[in-house]
Each structure stands twice: as structure tokens, then as C-alpha cells.
């Protein structure tokens, strides 16, 4: 494949026509700026995007966001919407970390109010939110309690006192996909989740205490409750071992069942079954359980952060309030207008964030006029962004990017820089680093990632979501 195979649709959108390969059912489209277009040849993500275009029932296009890179079957940053009646569902289109996603808690404090307490706050949060790789949480839930979380999600936790009613309103799907059926989840998966609720994980998962550095859209920022120099906390994690096991289980199940349904695919990691089949329906319900667990995980982490917040700043301190929580690895049943007709679609977003426009019924009332908050993490120690969904995102099934995307392997990063050096460089910029492994810090060094500013500029200019604020970290926290 080469650049001449691409049709330029706009300054930020390119297409590989359907006749590029015989088995494509729709064209493949990707969002990338002209200056970054050569980068997409660095790995096989563009071929994977063409493979996605071969899925049965796929509607309009297979799509990729500007932070795309090679994944398993699907590229990371890939979006595929399939017809609910004739289409297939693919665990590879969701990924191993089901409902990996973002959450932002906002405070009413300014940087100058928190700065004197920053060290203590970061230490306390690190202690209260473990990675889960060492000691898990001290509580090991029984299978019955796990089932309640899988089916009840954040709603169950709020009933039990682990949050407020408004946490539900400010979470995608109110923190619960009602399709979830715990009978479709293996005991293996449940066992992996028993002591991991409220744990961060490792790799690129993080907690950051950030400040609002820049406001691009004052009106929208005000509705989101954001102001200059405000302190916010960003959480990036997912469904932990439970979600990984659901993916492992169903990739195996679907690989075995594909022949039965005459599903032929160019890559076995794309493994997919008709949504209407027994296997498809069971995966949809199991994936919903994984998604509910991930929202619950971020809810419990928020609970422990709020506890640390109060213990450091005092019982009478101003509270942390949930701005929004949104997934970037998920498949959702959504209604979209296709050629003037409303259709029910299963939208796979793998490394892509939902970005519903103003007026969409599935976003909180208070955000109706301006669109859904979109939370985009930078790599460790670099800027993150809050954006808002736009009507122009229709062509992408209201999807946008999910982060910076890796540009360098972990090994290469550790070869180039030590963890101590990364910590020193970040601290020289006034960023506090709380970590348990210097190697982990080196692997996640900012230089190992693509430029987040370019990725965000592309989705902003392409109309997928508009920039609202830029956040910069004051403290990076990786669990113990």
C-alpha cells in the first residue's frame, strides 16, 4: 500500500476505496493530518483497517482515528459500526481491556490552594489506590458480590454508599449496561476480579493531579464547571484481569464457532460471530459485565481518592465532583441515521472515545446544549485534554481519538532513558512522580509516545470533537 492508493476526502480525512481489495465490503477511512500521513506506514495498522472493512454487516466505512497503531485484529484507534441484524461482533474490536477508559474528578480549588498539600496528597492517594500487582485490595469479594457488580455496575455501588446519585448521571450509560448477564462470564474471569476492584493496574494506566492550564472554549468550559488553574484528578484504567479473561475466553469461543456461521476473515484475531448468534449474544452480555466492572473499578478508585482527599485537606474541605466517565474500548448498541433512516448498530470502538453531539438523548441533561465531555489522556507527564462532542462527528459515528498512541517500544524507551532520569526531568518541570518501579516510569517516558497536541488538533479540525481545555499534570501517581 502507498499514498497513491488513498483518496483525499478533506485536509484531515483519507479513504481507501472499496475496490482496493476484493473482500472489502465498504471503503476504509482514516483521520490524519497531511504532515503525519507518512507515519501510518510505520506499522500494519492500515492493513488491519482494510481487514476490518471486510466484516459482515459493516456500515459506511471502517474508520481509524489519528492516534491509530497496530493492535490485535483491529487497529488501536479503530471504529466499526455493524448492522445489528446482519452484522458480526468481534471481541478483537473491543480489545483485551474491556472498557478501558477515563474519568475526571473536578475540585473547586486553585493550584495555589493545593500546592502546599500536593506531596502529602499524592502519597496518600498512592497508598489508597494500589496497582493490584502487589497486594490486591484487602477485601476479596465472593462470587455472589462479583455477580452483583457485573450486573449492577456503579448503580449497585451507589446503593451501597460508594458514591452519590449524581455519579450515575455523569457516567457513560449511568455506569451500567443493562444487557449484562453474569451467567455468560466464566468463573476464571470472576476469580481474577475478586480482589482487583479499586486497583489501577500498570503500563499506561495512571492517576494524575492536574491543573487547568488553558481554556479554548469559555462557554463550554463553564458548563463543564472548569476554570483556569483549577485542580482536577484524572483516572485512566479499565476492567483489569476480569476483562482480560472475558476477552481471552470469547476469542477462543468465537474462533471455534466461526466455521459454523461461514464467517471467513483475513486474520484470525478478528474472530467474530453474527450478533444474532448464541455466541454473539453471549459475548455482548459478557462484555457488558466487563464494562460494568470497569466503571465500578473507576468508581471505587474515586471513592478511595475522595477518602485520601479528606484525610489530607480536612473533613470540611470542598469535595471532588465527577465531571464525566467515558470508555475508549467498548462495543455499544446505538441508534444512528444512515442514508436518512434510523438504524440500530453495534459500534465497536477500540482505542476510540464516544463523542456524542449536543442534543443527543444519551448525554447528561446539563451537557445537552454543548455536547458530551470527551476525556483524552496525554502520555505520562504531558498535557491531557477535555473536548466536547460535535454534530460534524456524524460521519465517524460520533467517535474521536483516545490518546497519544505509542511511537516507541518499551525496550527502546528503557534503552534511551532511565526511570531516574525521567523522574528528574519531570520534577524539574515541577511535576511530582510517585511510582513503585523506575523501569515502569522509563517505559512510559513522554518520548515513547506520539505528540498528543497533533492528535487533538486533528480531531478538533476534522470536527470530531472540539477542544475545551488543556490540562497539565502536577503529580503523576502509579499505584504501589
Amino acid at each position: 500500500m502507498q499514498k497513491s492508493d488513498f483518496k483525499k476526502i478533506s485536509n484531515y480525512l483519507w479513504e481507501i476505496p472499496k475496490d482496493f481489495r476484493q473482500d472489502m465490503k465498504v471503503p476504509a477511512r482514516f483521520y490524519v493530518s497531511e504532515k503525519s500521513i507518512e507515519d501510518i506506514f510505520r506499522d500494519k495498522s492500515i492493513n488491519q483497517l482494510v481487514n476490518v472493512a471486510t466484516l459482515s454487516g459493516i456500515v459506511n466505512y471502517s474508520l481509524a482515528m489519528p492516534d491509530m497503531h497496530e493492535g490485535y485484529g483491529f487497529p488501536i484507534g479503530g471504529v466499526a459500526a455493524v448492522d445489528l441484524t446482519s452484522g458480526v461482533i468481534s471481541p478483537g474490536g473491543v480489545g483485551y481491556d474491556i472498557n478501558c477508559g477515563m474519568r475526571v474528578l473536578k475540585s473547586d480549588y486553585l493550584e495555589k490552594d493545593i500546592k502546599p498539600h500536593l506531596e502529602k496528597l499524592a502519597t496518600e492517594i498512592q497508598k489508597d489506590v494500589p496497582s493490584g500487582l502487589g497486594r490486591g485490595r484487602n477485601i476479596k469479594l465472593d462470587l455472589n458480590s462479583i455477580n452483583k457488580i457485573l450486573e449492577g455496575g456503579v448503580q449497585k455501588l451507589v446503593e451501597q454508599g460508594y458514591g452519590e446519585k449524581e455519579d450515575l448521571e455523569n457516567c457513560e450509560s449511568q455506569g451500567r449496561i443493562s444487557l449484562a448477564d453474569s451467567l455468560t462470564v466464566s468463573d476464571h474471569a470472576k476469580n481474577r476480579g475478586r480482589d482487583q476492584l479499586g486497583t489501577l493496574g500498570s503500563g499506561n494506566h495512571f492517576l494524575e493531579i492536574q491543573k487547568v492550564e488553558e481554556i479554548f472554549d469559555q462557554e463550554t468550559a463553564e458548563v463543564f464547571g472548569l476554570f483556569k488553574d483549577q485542580i482536577v484528578i484524572m483516572i485512566h484504567t479499565g476492567s483489569r484481569g476480569l476483562g482480560h479473561q472475558i476477552a481471552t475466553d470469547y476469542i477462543k469461543i468465537m474462533m471455534g464457532a466461526m466455521r459454523k456461521y461461514n464467517v471467513n476473515l483475513p486474520d484470525r484475531e478478528l474472530a467474530a460471530c453474527p450478533i444474532s448468534s448464541n455466541e454473539g449474544q453471549r459475548y455482548l452480555r459478557a462484555m457488558a459485565c466487563g464494562a460494568n466492572y470497569a466503571w465500578s473499578n473507576r468508581q471505587m478508585i474515586s471513592f478511595f481518592i475522595k477518602k485520601a482527599w479528606k484525610s489530607v485537606l480536612g473533613e470540611k474541605s470542598l469535595p471532588l465532583v465527577l465531571l464525566y466517565d467515558v470508555a475508549h474500548n467498548i462495543a455499544k448498541i446505538e441508534k444512528h441515521i444512515i442514508s436518512g433512516r434510523e438504524m440500530e448498530l453495534c459500534v465497536h470502538r477500540k482505542g476510540s472515545t464516544r463523542a456524542f453531539p449536543p442534543g443527543h438523548p444519551e448525554i447528561p441533561k446539563k451537557y445537552q446544549k454543548i455536547g458530551q465531555p470527551v476525556l483524552i489522556p496525554g502520555s505520562m507527564g504531558t498535557a491531557s485534554y477535555i473536548l466536547a462532542g460535535q454534530r460534524e462527528g456524524k460521519e465517524a459515528f460520533f467517535s474521536t481519538c483516545h490518546g497519544a498512541g505509542r511511537a516507541m517500544s518499551r525496550k527502546e524507551a528503557t534503552r534511551r532513558i532511565s526511570g531516574q532520569e525521567v523522574k528528574k526531568r519531570l520534577e524539574s518541570k515541577g511535576i511530582l512522580v510517585k511510582c513503585w518501579s523506575f523501569k515502569g516510569i522509563a517505559e512510559e517516558a513522554p518520548m515513547a509516545y506520539k505528540d498528543i497536541d497533533d492528535v487533538v488538533e486533528t480531531v478538533h479540525s476534522a470536527g470530531l470533537s472540539k477542544k475545551v481545555t488543556k490540562l497539565i499534570p502536577l503529580a503523576v501517581i502509579k499505584g504501589e
Partner: protein, 135 residues
């Protein structure tokens, strides 16, 4: 002959293992995965043994299923395994005992062994297998 090597990969963990026999592909990949989890041991080195039974579609799938089962046992029991004793071993089925030790923590979180670009082949009398792990 070295048991395995780590191949540079942009986002994940790619391991290539070398073996004289088909059984050793499994043993060497087991050691490679265990070492990649970077376990930290406690003062007390408590020994453990676990039974594994797997039935798969074919030989390649058997390897991935085996690694995922070991991963499950490691993470839920906080143990790692270095040795394997086969009771049954065929193209699509295995029964075995893995043994190792309790640990205090992992320093690497492996999410899963995947089928992505999975390879098992014999070259000049040496079995070589490549597995990509999602981390």
C-alpha cells in the same frame, strides 16, 4: 541453545522460544512468560504445584490456551511456575502438573497470550515459536 529471547515490539511483549522437542516449546515458553512477569519473591520460598487440563482446536491454539491457563493460575493464586511435568501431551490436548513458588508481587502485568502473528515451526531441527503477549 538459549531457551528464549525477547523480540522488540512497539506496544507489547513478543517472545520467541527455541526447543528440541514439541514438549519443550511449552516448557520454555512457560519459563519465558514467568520471567517476563518479573516476580518478586518473599523471604519464605513456599513451593506450589497445580494441575492443568486443556483441550484445544489445534496445536497452536493449545500453546496459547496453555499460557493463558498458567497466567490465570499465577494471577489468582499469586504464584509463578518454572517446571512442568506432562501426564498427557498430544496435538490438541494436554494434562500436566506445573510447579513453582508463591510470590509477593509481579512487576509486569501480562493481560493475555494472544493469537496475533502466532508462529510454531521447525527450522534446521529446532522448534521455534513466537507468541505476542498483551501487556
Amino acid at each position: 541453545m538459549k531457551k528464549y529471547e525477547i523480540i522488540d515490539h512497539k506496544t507489547d511483549l513478543k517472545i520467541k522460544s527455541f526447543a528440541k522437542t514439541k514438549k519443550d516449546i511449552f516448557s520454555n515458553m512457560l519459563v519465558a512468560m514467568t520471567e517476563s512477569m518479573k516476580p518478586r519473591f518473599g523471604k519464605k520460598r513456599e513451593k506450589v504445584t497445580r494441575e492443568i487440563k486443556i483441550k484445544s482446536e489445534d496445536f497452536k491454539t493449545l500453546l496459547v490456551d496453555f499460557l493463558n491457563e498458567v497466567l490465570y493460575l499465577s494471577q489468582t493464586n499469586r504464584e509463578v511456575y518454572f517446571d512442568i511435568n506432562f501426564k498427557k501431551f498430544s496435538e490438541d490436548e494436554l494434562r500436566a502438573e506445573v510447579s513453582g513458588q508463591k510470590i509477593n508481587r509481579f512487576n509486569e502485568d501480562i493481560k493475555a497470550a494472544t493469537f496475533h502473528n502466532l508462529e510454531i515451526e521447525k527450522e534446521r531441527g529446532v522448534w521455534q515459536s513466537t507468541v505476542l503477549f498483551d501487556i
